[in-house]
Symmetry: D2
Subunit: 257 residues, 4 copies
């Protein structure tokens, strides 16, 4: 069983007049945060505040680029070409990086959001194009992809990849996560148990199939109504099992030892 893992949260998903998620309660529980960059959520003012909140909580800061679809919150598939997907990630990463720079912080990682994440999973050319583009712009930045064959291929091609698993989403029999358009509240204990399952190397699909998982980070969704409770339940369970959290960079650094 792994005893070191990053715990990351999607956050900064308010937009202008609309508030979403309780980031102030969630961020103290995680080691990394993925901040929305304006296309699916996160207007510039929200981005500024999200960066400040990440810095105040000492949490590693990542960009969370999505499809250009505010009405669909980036959770509706769009047929972007690999080049278009790479440009979308580069654009949004750059925008957040400027806010980070102003706050004296750095972007540690880039993690595509929602259906754009799903596209990197289903289309290896998209995953490769995004990795190529982002690491060319910033050789230090890491790309977060779902732990599995696509992530492994991009990793094997020499890019900095962080392999992710989910504590609060179901898996299908292919080992793909099932994205909910509007996440509801979930049982914190069940999520904590799934996090422990990930650390033990496998989860169970909705149909009962065993899925092998080798992950560096575990994700929580900030727009789930009780996400702070879920995060606290996971942290408590980690403590019981002697699991420590660290940033993605720290976890990845121990990977090949």
């Amino acid at each position: 069983m792994k005893t070191l893992i990053d715990l990351n949260a999607d956050a900064g998903e308010s937009f202008g007049r609309w508030q979403l998620g309780d980031d102030a309660a969630l961020l103290p529980q995680v080691s990394s945060v993925n901040v929305a960059c304006g296309w699916h959520a996160g207007d510039p003012g929200t981005m500024r505040r999200s960066v400040e909140l990440a810095v105040a909580n000492g949490v590693a800061l990542g960009a969370h680029p999505g499809f250009p679809d505010l009405a669909g919150f980036g959770r509706r598939a769009m047929a972007l070409s690999p080049a278009e997907a790479a440009d979308a990630c580069l654009y949004q990463y750059g925008a957040l990086r400027a806010f980070a720079a102003e706050a004296g912080a750095r972007i540690a990682h880039v993690k595509p959001h929602g259906a754009l994440y799903g596209l990197t999973l289903r289309d290896p050319d998209v995953a490769a194009a995004v990795a190529e583009s982002v690491t060319k712009a910033d050789p230090d930045v890491m790309l977060v992809l779902l732990a599995g064959p696509t992530a492994q291929r991009v990793l094997d091609s020499g890019h900095r990849v962080v392999r992710e698993a989910f504590a609060d989403l179901d898996y299908d029999d292919n080992g793909h996560i099932i994205i909910e358009p509007v996440p509801g509240a979930k049982d914190p204990d069940a999520c904590a148990q799934q996090a422990i399952d990930v650390l033990r190397g496998g989860v169970t699909s909705v149909n009962g199939t065993a899925i092998d998982v080798d992950a560096d980070t575990i994700c929580l969704h900030g727009d789930r109504p009780n996400s702070p409770d879920i995060a606290r339940a996971i942290r408590a369970r980690f403590e019981q099992h002697g699991v420590h959290t660290a940033t993605m960079r720290e976890v990845v650094a121990t990977r090949n030892r």
Copy 2:
């Protein structure tokens, strides 16, 4: 003191993943509703549900067109020409009308939102262009403008105008309302008192100046956190004073008697 008035609410201001306002609690308290049409709030799915809610509550249905500014919720001034402002209102009115038609309902009125409302107030050419355009597309539809000189001018030029006052906004010494980017909770009793003041023919500006008001309808903002409470306080006060509510059309019909 007037004893017949329309009570209207701005509503339908959610957008995709983001919820705003408790329309289900607010609509039973009002006689008219102004539904956001997609440019400042109100994606098509929200529009559909707002129309259904209006029909279910037997409330007169109006379009609430705003500036094309989701990030600013339509509350930041934009320098649209009179023709552009008229086209913006026509476009959004038409979109909502299609949802109304599908539900077997009609659009009773058009009320510009936020800073677009402010533009009709400050620029009589904009008010005239909007009135001209909307009534040409639908001779039955009424245009809601702030009770005052501009509204009177458009009314005098032969257009169907409903003159509006506000229960939950402050007035400046020019008799203009002071728009808040993010409305906070307000004392329901103070709002109810201001509604009664309107019925008596005048309100007091933030500087203590007496402002004459001759209004057909009184507005509440659905995105104010306690708007259902404010609405209930107003309705209770109306009952004490023997004031009845009716739709704009009914109120306007009694205007010249």
Copy 3:
């Protein structure tokens, strides 16, 4: 060989500062026009001018709703649900209808644009939901779908459907059109020949497969650089073969005789 057909063009595809297509040269050549409604192209000012141009040319006016994707011109697939697709069509149809009403004109038909057209083709539930929604809002309006099984199914379910074929697009072996993100110039004679092929009941796919086509209308793309030349070539060929053009409504009226 058919001797009566509608010739329709996608037009009104400028947006604000950006001009696209030579609609003034194209519209005199066609009997119907599909006007962009703001989501993939066609800002409100362009919509107003497009309606005026249609009226001035005595051309039947249709709405051309697209995906909410200006950057992709509505030609990138998006996974909208049937309800979302229906709402998208209803919204944009309604917006254009208001401009038509102001000009004293009517909306004769609704034709989804680009990848939304492709979605109606691939997902019969989407086609059915759009037909249901649009005809409920306006029982007179006709829905334009690609001539083939999906169109036939919606037609058989009792909705007003116009079956479309293309003069300037290639077909694949499934009888589906191959959408080009950026249409280039095409040989006007080849397009004219394909139009005649359609009237004779069949086209040839890019792989040489014979595709049966039973169509009421033939489409041209206004954003193809030489679309007016193509339209003139088609009209000349029609004249040679004694083919007359008429609006969709007129063509459909002769369908069951």
Copy 4:
């Protein structure tokens, strides 16, 4: 008369399907380029190509952030607060910087576009907030403002400011430029003469008033139909007068000698 000046052009103003300007013909004539960053023009693919074109022509690269108003091309005033304007500039600067980084280039300057430029001119708090924010994110970057009192104030407060004049726009009696929503063709000789006037220290307003101008750079608009001709006319006139062009950084470096 000055003999060293930067010549800059607004470019990269296509958007997706819509092409605008002949950047390939214009860029060889200038020493700096301001690239649209997605809010008023310039989708990510266009940004990528614009950066490549700037690099290929050895031209200094600048960000050209605008209001979030594609339909108005960023030329309609919007009432953004100083903080909102600063965030808008920072966001768009950052996005372009990522494309520059990927191409191995740097962002030399930031120049607000259209009505956002106008806002920095009319509201010194906006100019100060933008300067503060951008230079905090990148101490090397220069901010381009209209040569005049506002630019001088921001310069005096210690920020890197480049003072700009215009060869192809008229001035009013306040020394403010008159922004055209849709720039038409202009006489290249007249523009060349105005460029020389700037180098001599003054231009004449539309009403004949003499306006003092002390500028480091002269601007051309890439969306003016004959902008490459204007650029060539200016370069020819510069040659006649022994004027050399250089990047903003080089010109500014000579300022205090």
